[in-house]
């Protein structure tokens, strides 16, 4: 252990947003004709005047100058919000896409599991698929032969090994696919959230297998996940990516707790000093919106146990109106979780505030946003402040050792007891 096995130096990846080269042949010919033959400006960016040339050619640095090193036997968790470049980094290290700048040097075999069941064909039997998928993932013939029985036993589908996988249940499919992947013997293993599949039992097996692989066999693992629990459980080190840049790198516990508090701070409040710039219209203007988590200590993660108070204040610009507000909570996918109206009341000009508390142990983990509607005379909409607050609730499982996605929009902690009714 301790020897450097992977060195990532100044990796950047640039994507063009307003790409010109990806359209149809017609567009490209048109582009070539106008720019090269007629010597005119780019035909696609002319509509909005000359400034648009700059904006249309926007570039996006999916990764910017990321460097780190890994020693043999390290397990590195990569965390960061969506779009922070985690997957791009994994793809570059796996040689699927090439970096724009920078170099990566390493030793030994690299295997990447960016999806479950890479190279599976529905028509083929489980046996055939183990071979095809194994080869695609870079296994040798003898490796597969030697481990075939082990793979089948791990997946637990012995009886169906000669059945086409299209007849498998999705759980069986995933188990077989993971079993192949788990028996790869790379020096560096790259894993992208494959744990979010399968039933509880199987997940435990997968995490266990990965831990075993890194601890006892000295393999190096790079692991991307949104689940802080899984990362904390599996990894020794963590890297926090934010907008393509390395924000932090170090011991897993310190990076994860910094990440959790860091994410909390910047999404949970908005306030406006200047009434002109505040969101609103001729009837009302917002002064501030805020979500206050009732944390027991500063470094407690914002998880599903924490009660949340939503506070807001706005300027009412007219006299003697019957005002009411509606507090809408949406899941990240846009589903409305609830809509709580405040009792209507008459107000004169001035600052109005309101608050509503969501109890702890009520929402499921996930990302949410809050929209606030202000209504006159119980039915006329004055202003709808969409997505004024967004927040993530971390998962908390306590003693439950299962890492799958907990289903349901809410996860209330209603009393639920099992008791013995009768002796056998």
């Amino acid at each position: 252990m301790g020897e450097i096995i992977l060195e990532v130096e100044g990796i950047s990846k640039l994507y063009r947003l307003g790409t010109i080269g990806t359209g149809s042949l017609k567009q490209d010919l048109n582009y070539w004709w106008t720019t090269s033959i007629l010597k005119k400006e780019n035909p696609f960016f002319q509509m909005a005047g000359s400034d648009s040339v700059k904006t249309a050619n926007q570039f996006l640095w999916a990764l910017k100058d990321v460097s780190f090193e890994m020693n043999q036997g390290d397990t590195l968790g990569i965390i960061g919000p969506n779009g922070s470049g985690k997957s791009t980094l994994l793809k570059i290290i796996s040689r699927i896409v090439s970096p724009t700048t920078g170099t990566i040097k390493g030793r030994g075999k690299v295997s990447s599991l960016l999806e479950v069941g890479t190279g599976f064909s529905a028509e083929l039997s489980g046996r055939e698929n183990i071979y095809v998928s194994g080869y695609i993932l870079g296994m040798k013939r003898n490796e597969i032969k030697n481990k075939f029985d082990e793979i089948v036993a791990f997946s637990g589908i012995e009886k169906f090994i000669d059945t086409p996988v299209k007849r498998y249940s999705s759980g069986m499919y995933v188990r077989l696919a993971f079993a192949v992947a788990a028996h790869l013997e790379p020096d560096i293993l790259i894993v992208d959230e494959v744990l979010a599949v399968g039933d509880a039992d199987f997940q435990k097996k997968c995490l266990g297998k990965m831990r075993e692989v890194s601890k006892t066999e000295g393999r190096t693992i790079l692991f991307v996940s949104h689940s802080m629990q899984a990362i904390s459980n599996l990894c020794d080190k963590a890297m926090w990516l934010q907008n393509g840049k390395k924000k932090d790198f170090g011991e897993v516990s310190s990076v994860v707790s910094k990440y959790i508090t860091g994410v909390q701070q910047h999404q949970l409040r908005q306030s406006w000093d200047n009434i002109e710039e505040a969101p609103g219209n001729e009837f009302i203007s917002f002064k501030n919106v805020e979500l206050i988590p009732h944390l027991k200590s500063v470094d407690q993660p914002l998880d599903i146990r924490v009660p949340l108070t939503f506070k807001f204040s706005f300027w009412n610009k007219s006299d003697n109106v019957l005002l009411s507000t509606g507090f809408h909570l949406f899941s990240y996918s846009g589903e409305c979780i609830f809509d709580i109206p405040a009792a209507p009341a008459y107000f004169n000009k001035g600052l109005i505030e309101g608050e509503c508390t969501i109890p702890g142990n009520f929402l499921n983990d996930g990302s949410y946003f809050i929209s606030l509607i202000i209504v006159k005379d119980t039915s006329v909409q004055l202003y709808y402040f969409e997505e004024c607050i967004s927040f993530d609730l971390e998962d908390y499982r306590g003693e439950i050792k299962w890492y799958g996605k907990w289903s349901g929009a809410v996860r209330p902690n209603f009393p639920f007891r099992l008791s013995k009714a009768e002796d056998a």
Binding site: S94, S98, T103, Y135
Partner: protein, 279 residues
């Protein structure tokens, strides 16, 4: 030991990174992909592998009935004439069309795992080559039948033994064009639809359903411009003893192949990694 790196990734798009060693390491993948292709094609079908012969035979019957009266094919037995053209053409057409869709149809795989991308088109052409080989054996049996029962004269000369040159060159040209078009169709989706149309038209510029000898002098140059023409004629000349092959035209075909093959490999390799960002 110490700090000795075994591999390195950087921004340069390398022109010739396929070292044979890497390809060799993935040879089992190639075999299993070919195997998969055969299993997938004939699983759950009534005729199974017999489709490999059934398809060209049905085509043969159609051609004999449709073109037999219209186009003079010389003194050769029609079955032999058409069948030799059909199988070589199918080999070319199927491997070209399928390999030109390499990126389009494998994008899910290519964006999830690394292996030498060229394995995919190579497995395509290998699959079609095996299919062609089986059809070729059938053709040889057919020739033997005609020679024994139908009084068809075969002259064994040196030329008889050059028929592999014809289909090997056809295969290389097909693969090369497939590689080039796989890059182009990935960039320009429109082209993929054009490819099958073009191929169908190209068939009429290739001596598949007619011998080169029956082409009017005025149109001769168009057909000869097609580098496949000499190869098809060579194929018939060597196996059936009738064909119009001249050294300059054959040289033209070979030079075409020698130029297009490295170009195609270079283009495929150069663009292979970049295309994943674009598709």
């Amino acid at each position: 030991m110490g700090k000795k790196w075994e591999w390195e990734i950087d921004a340069k798009t390398t022109d010739w990174t396929w070292n044979l060693k890497e390809l060799l390491a993935y040879r089992h993948l190639l075999f299993s992909l070919v195997r998969r292709e055969f299993l997938l094609s004939y699983q759950q079908t009534l005729l199974g592998p017999a489709w490999m012969l059934f398809q060209p035979i049905v085509t043969l019957i159609t051609y004999v009935m449709v073109f037999g009266k219209l186009i003079p094919i010389g003194t050769l037995p029609p079955a032999l004439f058409y069948f030799s053209g059909i199988i070589l053409w199918n080999f070319f057409q199927d491997s070209f069309i399928e390999s030109s869709g390499t990126f389009k149809s494998n994008i899910n795989l290519f964006s999830k795992v690394y292996f030498p991308r060229i394995i995919m088109p190579i497995s395509t052409i290998t699959t079609h080559f095996l299919r062609f080989s089986i059809q070729l054996i059938f053709l040889i049996l057919l020739i033997a039948y005609y020679a024994i029962f139908k009084d068809f004269k075969i002259n064994f000369t040196v030329v008889t033994w050059v028929f592999p040159v014809a289909f090997i060159c056809t295969g290389i040209i097909s693969l090369s064009m497939g590689l080039i078009f796989s890059v182009l169709t990935a960039k320009y989706r429109d082209l993929y639809n054009l490819v099958s149309l073009m191929t169908r038209l190209l068939m009429f510029l290739t001596p598949v359903i007619y011998p080169l000898a029956s082409i009017p002098a005025k149109l001769h140059w168009i057909v000869v411009l097609n580098p496949l023409t000499s190869l098809f004629e060579l194929f018939r000349l060597s196996l059936l003893g009738k064909g119009t092959v001249s050294i300059p035209y054959l040289t033209y075909s070979l030079v075409f192949m020698i130029l297009i093959f490295p170009t195609a490999l270079w283009m495929f390799n150069k663009n292979g990694n970049k295309l994943i960002d674009v598709i």
